[in-house]
Symmetry: C2
């Protein structure tokens, strides 16, 4: 069976984290020096990263009652401005969906009662273990203006699904998590179309 | 037109990197303190990361002449062992495809003459600007044994496309770039099936 085969490979590959030491604390980014024991007994050193105290984050596909999608734009590292679904960190006191809906409202002023987790992933598995959830929010409506943090500057606009395809095909959506979210959305739309043709 | 609309949003969001200072150098991971000027004139500080001197990397979907896919397993941060396509950093002296084929050979001993770039992405757009390319390698054959670095321990095995689906559906493939690569592969297989039914 495939499950047994995979379990065997995983257990024969599993190492052991022996110790971990804070090497740098910049406030937002921390770097750790870690020592691992490999399955063959060798000890190796690695550097790992935690951002924002290792909080998980969410990328939120947000579909409005007018069948448009909220896309935000902000100045990223090296002045890259790429199109992104709303996103943000989940705070320790809230669950993923509460945090996701809060982030959408802060970045765009839109609210909704319909949210579900459709995937999760680790963006940089070689250096971090924090997760990003992909959340699908439907029937969003504009309630208020943006409520941005003091160091944020975010523009947003509404795009149709075909316009999202344009953003993907022209590499205007650049982040791996956002691209993955788009593929999930494509599956959702495809399923809707199949149902409506029945 | 959508292009004009997007160009306008991007230029009204674009900031300016004012200065950048090395804050930590761990050998593999560097952290920078950066100051940006936002479009409204405010100055904000950010921390950014560069790994392995900011080299780009590749995730390589590797399909063998027997229509199987090479999947590698290694002990990652916090002892997470996830299934991954072969991957690695592109060295400054080589192009993406040369580096991709080199990494596949080092991690598995498989070689091929058929490689193409099918996508690229930024894994952590909030803190880094390095790219990961998704490369598709076909007709791979076993040539030699693994040639791993002294700190690597990698197991690999061959999986059918349906078995890859199992790895995705059961979250055994966990990295965002690997998940995105799987969706691209799904499109490739889908196109092949359409052509073979014509």
């Amino acid at each position: 069976m495939i499950k047994d085969r995979i379990d065997k490979i995983i257990s024969s590959t599993k190492g052991e984290l022996i110790h971990k030491k804070l090497a740098f604390d910049g406030g937002f980014i921390k770097v750790f020096e870690e020592c691992y024991k490999l399955p063959d007994g060798r000890l190796i050193n690695k550097e790992s990263i935690s951002k924002n105290d290792g909080k998980d984050a969410a990328i939120i596909i947000t579909r409005t009652t007018e069948d448009k999608y909220l896309i935000v734009f902000q100045n990223r590292i090296n002045n890259i401005v790429s199109a992104e679904f709303p996103s943000g960190y989940i705070e320790p006191f809230e669950d993923v969906l509460t945090g996701a809906l809060r982030e959408v409202e802060e970045e765009t002023g839109y609210v909704s009662n319909s949210a579900k987790i459709i995937d999760s992933m680790i963006p940089n598995i070689g250096t971090e273990s924090s997760k990003i959830y992909i959340v699908y929010v439907d029937n969003a409506v504009k309630k208020s203006s943006q409520k941005l943090d003091s160091d944020e500057y975010i523009n947003y606009d509404l795009f149709s699904f075909d316009e999202l395809k344009y953003l993907i095909d022209n590499q205007i959506i650049q982040s791996s998590g956002n691209k993955l979210a788009f593929y999930h959305l494509k599956d959702i739309i495809h399923e809707e179309e199949k149902r409506s043709h029945k």
